[in-house]
Amino acid sequence: MNGFLIYAGKRFLQFLFVVVTGITLAFLIAHFSPVDPVEQTVSLLTSFGSTDPQSVEILRQSLRELYGTGGPLIDQYFTFWGRVLTGDFGPSLSSFPTPVMTVIGRALPWTVGLLTLATIIAWIIGNLLGALAGYFRNSRLLKLAGIVIMALQPIPTYIIGLSLVILFGFVWPILPISGGAQVNLTPAFNWAFISSVIEHGILPALTLVLVGIGGWFISMRSLVSNIITDDHVVYAELGGVRSSSIFSYYVARNAMLPQVTGLALSLGNVFGGAVIVEFVFNYPGIGKLLISGIYSGDYSLVLGVTTIAIIAVAAAVFVIDIIYPLIDPRVKLG
């Protein structure tokens, strides 16, 4: 157990390192940009009327306060960290005066729900089919499934999403193609709302699953086809162990381990997929929030979402790293 603590401690340090680097990078990008968010907002607001120089100067001052862009760089850096640690990114400009964190908090459950579900479904289906395809290499049905899955894999998320929109929204309109739930329903724990959420989630989730399945399928299949030539599998076959037990106990289990690591690594990329999926389906999650924040020039919102994304992805990788030795006893602790 001591070894595990050292291992967990090291991983935790790495997690902190990733978060610090990421947030520093976000800070530097934001502050060394040629575009000054204060001036940008000022010109945006003054273009609607009020051009009294004195009130503009007051506006400029309060915006500088708001964005934390006053004073020397090192002060700004610590101000920024203060904001990250207290979770206070100030009010969102596009939905003033709601705080950025409230806006993000509203969007977060949608993204987390959709991504968790889609990632896990893709992971299970991909690994299962991949393992079967690697083990029963002569099955025609599995070969056909492999070709279809692999053909889907390299296609960009947007293209698959839009194809589904065309297919189920226009050609055969059976599913909603926009939004997270029916607009007239208030979020509540009742069947009408939940079923609406599920209905609206099917196509975005299906898109993510179709995109994600291929990678798991390919790596699992090659892992399994390597393992079935290993001595212990050949020995079990010669010893007359039932092939279903060989498959589940000898082959699939050993192949699972690298796939669990892969799951952690994929979480980082999944966010990218979420942005485009939420854009296509107008899904009210973090990705859509980020895009609309960029379109409307909402500085604090964009910075807030980026920071949350960095922390969330690093945390997910950390959690998987911690669980990993519990699954694989061979992993070196310490």
């Binding site: 390192f17 575009v35 998320t157 947007y158 086809s225 990218g272 942005v275 980020l290 960029i294």
Partner: protein, 285 residues
């Protein structure tokens, strides 16, 4: 080299199929150099014409011929991917070889940085950059940024090979015969990692093109330069799907799928060729 190609074309169906798909793309790209219209010009033909003998793929609401636009778009999109792939390969090679060869504390530090960069989510950081740079975010700038983000995984692969090369006899000979470190890395070790470089290039190319398509669809790159994502962006901006101008969206989608499938098939088959185990499996051993 030619023998390998001939063998691959003859015995490897994926390679043949991938080559055919890529040749279609290359054909369109070559044809784009003979385009009668300037690739950035708008309102040069009658807008909103469906596919016909005169306009093979129809025309857009911006008065552009979809056929010639596709050619130019594929050229720009592929060029973007190639720039990203080449630049990020160079970074991955230098980092991987140096880290693996020097080893010890240096290796630990370099790999620590490597893993940290690799663990950062690319898309949010890229979008933040796009956000703060706005109009200064040119197409080539985007390529450089993408290249800076896309090498960490491959440098680890290269390092793992370099680590084992360091222990080999010929490395020691090279050291004793007085070769400088840079010479050893370039002349002795580089040839051994080239297969990995080729294979990861394909994957990186696919990743980079996907990134370009994604960002352009969102309107976050140079939208006046025709790219596949840019075409879809303009189609969305004109609500082409709702207006029934399906060819404006369908053809870019079709050709980007062809491009991706082609690259993917080539990557798969080349990977299989490099990995002797799967070659044996194919032969039935």
């Amino acid at each position: 080299m030619f023998k390998i190609l001939r063998d691959l074309l003859r015995y490897n169906k994926e390679f043949l199929f991938g080559t055919i798909l890529i040749l279609i793309i290359v054909g369109l790209i070559v044809s784009s150099f003979f385009s009668p219209y300037d690739e950035t010009a708008i309102y040069v033909v009658i807008p909103d014409m469906p596919p016909s003998a005169e306009f093979w793929f129809g025309t857009t609401s911006r008065g552009q011929d979809v056929f010639w636009q596709i050619g130019a778009s594929l050229r720009n999109t592929l060029l973007f991917g190639i720039i990203v792939a080449v630049v990020s390969r160079l970074i991955a090679l230098v980092v991987g070889l140096v880290s693996g060869y020097i080893g010890g504390r240096t290796d630990q530090i370099i790999m620590g940085i490597n893993d940290t960069l690799g663990a950062l989510p690319n898309i949010p950081i890229l979008l933040l950059l796009v956000f703060v740079l706005r109009d200064q975010m040119t197409w080539s700038m985007l390529a450089v940024v993408a290249a800076l983000l896309g090498w960490t995984h491959d440098s680890r692969l290269i390092r793992s090979v370099a680590l084992s090369l360091r222990q080999r006899e010929f490395t020691r000979h090279a050291v004793f015969s007085g070769m400088r470190t840079s010479q050893i890395l370039v002349r002795e070790h580089l040839p051994y990692v080239m297969p990995i470089v080729f294979f990861t290039t394909m994957n990186n190319l696919i990743w980079a093109i996907g990134l370009e398509v994604t960002l352009s669809i969102l309107g976050f790159s140079d939208i006046n330069r025709p790219t596949i994502g840019g075409m879809i962006y303009w189609a969305n901006a004109h609500s082409a799907m709702v207006a029934g101008i399906w060819w404006w969206v369908a053809f870019p989608m079709l050709f980007v799928v062809i491009l991706f499938l082609g690259l993917f098939m080539l990557a798969m088959s080349v990977n299989e060729y490099i990995d002797p185990r799967s070659r044996l499996a194919r032969m039935g051993a």
